[in-house]
Structures are given as C-alpha cells and as structure tokens.
C-alpha cells in the first residue's frame, strides 16, 4: 500500500467514527435521569418555561430529526447556545481553547523531556541503584492523583515562593507562561511515568543490539549513539505513547484545570455538567473527541513517514 492510499484510507475511516461520536454526544441528553428540560428549569420553573426549554433543545422532535439537525448545524459551525450564559457554544469553546492548548502543549513537552531524560538515565544504568531509584519514582508518580499533586505544588511551591499565581491564566504571554508552569508540571508528573516505563524498556532492548555495540567499538560517544541511532526508535515509542494516552491526558487536564482554576475547556465542561448546560457539554465533548481522533490520525500519518514498515505493510 502506498503512503497516500494509507492516508486516504485513514481519513475515510474517521468519517464513520465521527458520525458515531456525534450519536453518542446526542445520546447525552437522553440518558439524563428524568426530564432534562425540567432539570434545567429548576424547582420553581413553570410548565410553560419547561416547555420553552424543551422546544429550544429540540427535545420535542424525534431522535433522528435531532441528530440530523445537530450534524447539519455542526457542519456549519453551530453547536447551539448555552442554556445558562446564552453564548454560542462555539464562542465558549473558542474562548476556552487557549488555556487548554497551553496546558496540553506545555505539559506534553515537559512530559517528553522528563520521560526522555529519566528513561535514558535508567536504561544506561540498568539494574544499578539509579535505575531502581528512578523506577521507584515512577511508581510513586503513577500512584499520586493529579489533583493531589496540584494541591501539593500550590501549598509547597506557589504559596511559600509567591512566584506563581494560585489560580487563573495570567495576562499576556509571560503571564500565561508563568501561570502554566505548575499545571504543566502536574501534568508531566501524572503522564510521564507510563512514558518512562515504555521508553526505558525500549532503550534497554536497543542498547543490547549489535549496532550499538559496534558503534561503541568504533569510538562513538554515548550521546552520539543516542542521537544518531536510537532517537528515531525512541521517537516512535513516544509518538505511540502520546497517541495512546491522549484520552487520559484530556481527563488529567480537566482535573488540573479545576485545581488551578484555569479557564480552559475542562473547567468549562465541569461547570456545564454541574449546571446541566447540555449544549455546552455536547459541544466540548464533541471537540475533545475530535481532538483525540485527529491526534490518533496524526500519529499514524507521522509514523508512516518515520517508520513506513509499521503501517504500510
């Protein structure tokens, strides 16, 4: 199979996937206990108000009609109106996207840097004290829930030093960067242990290969061997890990946004769920599901370039 055919095939596969995601998103409204319109209206809402909400949400129509209308509107960039703030959902998502992207990007970079450094150190010191110590640290990292790590960083770093804001996203580039450091570190502590374990195992296997021994024999330094010969293999492991972990990453991001009061999509989702703002819940769920889908797609396409054998054969 040629690469272009492979990419086309993967693109076509995403269409039914997205259609399925939208069905699940639509079902959100229908699995809520009781009448969602009544739940939105609250205890004192009159029947007239409840009927108005029902009409606005389209609940009076059949599921198929609702689905077709939702897909049609979504294709035109219309994900509905928030039942609370009365803002268009796309506008809410647009406003909230930046902090989430900052968090995911900074957190991912930090995770990759941390995972690479620790894995290399552990692999090169296999079965020595450093390896065991780093292995222990990854177990501790895996055991600590992100919200707890976040609170600890707030109490032990932000509060005594005063160098980081306790909450919010800051203003301007440097303000954003300052505000994102501790959330990104929390993210990395939560996400990197799994990467470290996978990458270390791969590097240990690679270090046993003949070509590594040959490289050493011809006098190449360890860092040169790593950079020239092992980095491509390591990159594939990291891409796979990012791709596999993107779902949990979104979940961790939601927790971190809540802990640090970052005004991102995760915080908006939590608020919308609490307020039964179904259009916003649906919009953010759809956005994150599409994000995960496209990360997987991107990872596959990237891998087809870096290591064609794995996907094209």
């Amino acid at each position: 199979m040629t690469r272009s055919r492979y990419i086309l095939k993967r693109l076509l596969q995403t269409i039914p996937l997205i259609a399925g995601i939208m069905v699940l998103v639509m079902l959100l409204l229908h699995v809520v206990p009781g009448d969602p319109a009544r739940a939105i209206g609250g205890m004192a809402a009159s029947d007239e108000t409840v009927e108005q909400i029902r009409e606005e949400l389209g609940l009076n129509r059949s599921f198929v009609a609702q689905y077709i209308a939702y897909v049609g509107n979504a294709l035109q960039g219309d994900l509905g109106i928030s039942t609370r703030s009365r803002q268009p959902v796309t506008e809410i998502i647009g406003e909230r996207l930046a902090p989430t992207l900052w968090l995911l990007t900074a957190g991912m970079i930090l995770s990759i840097v941390l995972a690479s450094a620790v894995s290399v150190l552990a692999a090169r010191n296999k079965d020595r004290a450093a390896d065991y110590a780093l292995g222990g640290l990854t177990v501790i990292g895996l055991s600590m829930p992100a919200y707890w790590v976040g609170i600890m960083l707030l109490l032990l770093v932000a509060l005594p030093t005063g160098a980081f804001p306790i909450s919010g996203f800051g203003k301007g580039f440097w303000g954003h960067l300052n505000a994102i450091i501790l959330p990104a570190l929390t993210f990395a502590i939560a996400i990197s242990p799994v990467m470290i374990r996978a990458l270390r195992a791969k590097l240990v296997a690679l270090y046993r290969n003949d070509f590594v021994m040959m490289s050493r024999a011809v006098g190449l330094s360890e860092s040169t061997i790593l950079a020239r010969h092992l980095s491509r293999h390591a990159a594939l492991v990291l891409i796979t890990m990012v791709s596999v972990q993107v779902g949990p990453m979104i979940f961790v991001g939601v927790v971190i946004e809540k802990t640090f009061a970052l005004p991102g999509l995760g915080q908006a989702l939590v608020n919308a769920v609490a307020q039964r703002d179904f259009p916003v819940v649906q919009g953010i769920t759809l956005t994150t599901a599409l994000f995960v889908t496209f990360v997987h797609l991107g990872a596959d396409i990237f891998t087809s370039f870096v290591n064609p054998r794995t996907v094209l054969e």
């Binding site: 009781g34 739940a39 004192a44 609370r84 932000a158 909450s167 300052n178 005004p263 609490a274 307020q275």
Partner: protein, 506 residues
Amino acid sequence: MLTKALPHSFRGRLVVAAAALLLTLPVAPSAALADGTLTIGRPADVSAMSVFSHSTIEDEIVHPMLFDTLVYGSKDDPGYVPGLAESWDFDSASNSYVFKLRANAAFSDGSPVTAADVVYSLSAAKEKSQNYKGMLAGMTAAEAVDDHTVKVTLAGPDNIFMSGLIWVYVLPENMNGKDADAFFAEPLASGPFALDAWTPGSSMSLVRNPHYWNAAETGLDRVDMKIIQGDNERLAAFQSGDIDIYENVRFDFIDQIPEAQRHIVSPTARTMFLFTNNYKPPFDSIEARKALSYAVDRDAIGEALWPGLSVPVQGMLMPGTTGAVPADAGSWDFDLETAEAALAASPTPKPEITLSAAYIRGVDEVLVQAVQAQLQDAGFQVTLNVSDFNTILGQVLNGEFDVWLLGNTTFGTTVAEMFAFYGGAFGPLGGWDLDALGGALEKYLVAPDAAGREAAVRDFENMMRETFTAVPIGHPDTVFAIADGVEGFETLPTTAYRLDRISVNR
C-alpha cells in the same frame, strides 16, 4: 550538527534545560488588591446574566450590582430600605404604592433612569422572572405618573409585594429594542457597577458605574471575581493574597484563618432539612414522618459538624429572616424511644428507604452518614443515593425519591420569599397540605400588622411541626475570610453582600 552544538553529556543537557526553566520564572505576582480593586474567590459563577433566571446566591450578589432595584435588602425590619426609590407612599384605600425615584439615577451610558424604565421592568419581572414572579402576582397595574414617579396598584392587601421588589431589576424600557440574549450579552447597567468582562464559569470583572445615583459613595473602582471551585484551592488563594474575599470557608479550615479576618454570618437564612416524599409509603404516613423527625439527634449533629457555628432548630423558615418565629406546638427534639414507637405504629414498621443527597450547600459526606446512622438506629433501613445536585433534583422533580437531605437558603430578607417558595415549589413536590399552606400564606399576605404576620408564620410552623410535613435539622452559619484592608464588608443573613459598600485601605 545539533548534537555537537550541545554539551556532550546528558547531565549537561539537563543542566541547560533546568537553567532554561529557571529563566522563565517571572517575578512574584502583585498583590490582589491594588487601590480600589477587590478580588473575590468564589465557588461558583452566576447561574446566568439574565436577571429573569436569577436563582443562586451568586446571582444575588452580582445582579443588584449591575441592575438597580427600587428597594435594597436589609437585615432590619421590615427587611428592605430605599434604593432607586428614595421614598414611597401607600394608599390602603386603593391598595396602591407611589414610588419617588432618585432624580439623578442614570444608566452606565449616562442616559437617565426614568419611570417608564421602572414600569417596563416591573412588568417584565412579573411576566418573565422564573423564580420571583409569584411575589409580584398581586400587582395589577404599574404606570408612570411623571419621569420620576411610578404608581403600582395591587389587587388587595399584599405583604409580599414589597419584599419581591428586591428582585425587580431596573432595565431600560424594552431593553433598548434588543432581545434578552442580546441585551444581557452586553448589559446596560443601572447599578453601582458595569460589566467589564465575563468568562462564564471562570471569571468576571466589574467596573465602577460613574452614572449610578450614589456613585460618590461607591468605594471600589473595580471588582474581579474568580471562580475557584475547590475548597483547598480557595484557601490557598486567600493565603497567598491572590484573593481578598474568600467565600464559603469550610468549617474545618477556620483555624487556618486569623480570627480578625473571619466574618461569620449567624444566624443565616439557611435551613438544613429532610424533604420527604409524602405521596407514597412510608412517608405518606404521619407516624413514619414522626419517627424520622424524632430519630434525628440535632444537638449531636450540631456539636460534631458545626461546633459553635449554628443555631438550634427553630423551624422550616430561616431564623435569619425578618418575621421568622418558632412553632409553639412542641419542639423538634430528638427522642429515640418515641421514634421507635412511632415507626412500630406506622403501616411499614421496617421501612426500606433511600436517602438522597448532593454534596452541596452545606451537605457533606459526614452529615449524610450521620443522618443515615441515626435513622438506622431508629429502625429505618437506609440506602444512600448520593449524586450531583441536578441529578437528585431531576429525580425529585419526577417523584423518584423517599427523602432528600438538603440545605435550603432563602435570598429574601423576610420570611415572605421562602413562604412563597415552599408553597410554589416544595409543597407540590412533597405532597404537603397545600390548603393549610395556602391558608397560612393568605393570612400572611393580608395581615394588617406585624402581629398578624407573626400569627400567620406561627400557623405555618405549627402545621409543619404537628404533621411533620418536612423535618428540619439545623441552621448552620456561613463563614467568609476577609483580607486586611477590606472595609465595609457586611452581609445579610442570606449571605449576600453589596460590593458598593466595600472599600479598600492598604
């Protein structure tokens, strides 16, 4: 080649990476309080900007700052004081009020607030307000006498109407031709502040409205509100100086707040209670409800969960509200033997019940488990149903519950609002005696004086106590933490406070 440009060892690379990270560390953020700016950390955002959806304590604090009202809530009798209306006269013969508006009142764009705006706002509130239109039900006509005088005619004697004016927010006539969504997206303010920025669920900023009729006494130039949901995070934000007002301090965090910075609201306008489904067994039986009430050891709960931070149970109406009086038909005391006897005499002597609860508004895991244990001691077999508030509410609205443990706070400074709310919302859902409730409400509505209103409230409380229609548990306080330099912070028992009365002095 990149690898040659970098230090050879990985240790070297790590040092470079660490140094790069350190270089990104900026200086410490400035203190939250610049002169004239106040920062508040609160657990939740307003439910909506539309005043017609007004339903939470956050709405109760923000909406009156953006939209003026004829009267302002007060903790002193009769529960309200002049606001946009500097005075009013009541003519008992025609059941009409004539309100005199402040001559210098203006919207945030400088245009005057006129009687026509007030007339429109009264009609709009009566028609559209989701939660408070009932309090304006007695209003039959509103008319502009002149630019600064409004006449309101009532169908008859109505002791609830004036309390209801606390929620009639003054908007420009016909919302300047905009629909509600468009208007509230960029609201024209008539109150002490105007909206500067709002990211729903995250933050809101208000700026001083220089055209407000009492702008000279508005102490703040700017208010920033941050939504920080976590209790730990809100505490950390206060301790770091990130916020100046820390709303809803958890009782077990109080020791971490210096005594001078604590602001305790006691008594509040909150009642924790057990709301029973009286339509179906076992609580369609008065004996079962009686057993439920006698099984709850309120003193033990108060001492363990709200040590020194609650007032004893007075009744279903909140002790912090003007006009609340206790029942004189017995007490709400704990008596396990009576509880067991009542349960034995009920049609279902060993009832299996579901105790529903959401961890919100003062309800937490410990309280729920304490109540569960106490009910089980009396012979109830209790299964917990803990979920988010809206899920529980959805179940209650569909009648799918046995008993719901909840904290209920009134936003009214008088008993009138809660009286009406019990009648309009809880009563029909719980299967209360609506005739008895309506009779007490009607008596309150037309009572000619305070003694008459007190008698009506007592009728209601006696009815609740004699029939155990619902079971109150306690009235816990509310605690705020206020940073040094914040002056003029004063709350109503509802825990609402006016931002325009606050100033900063650092």
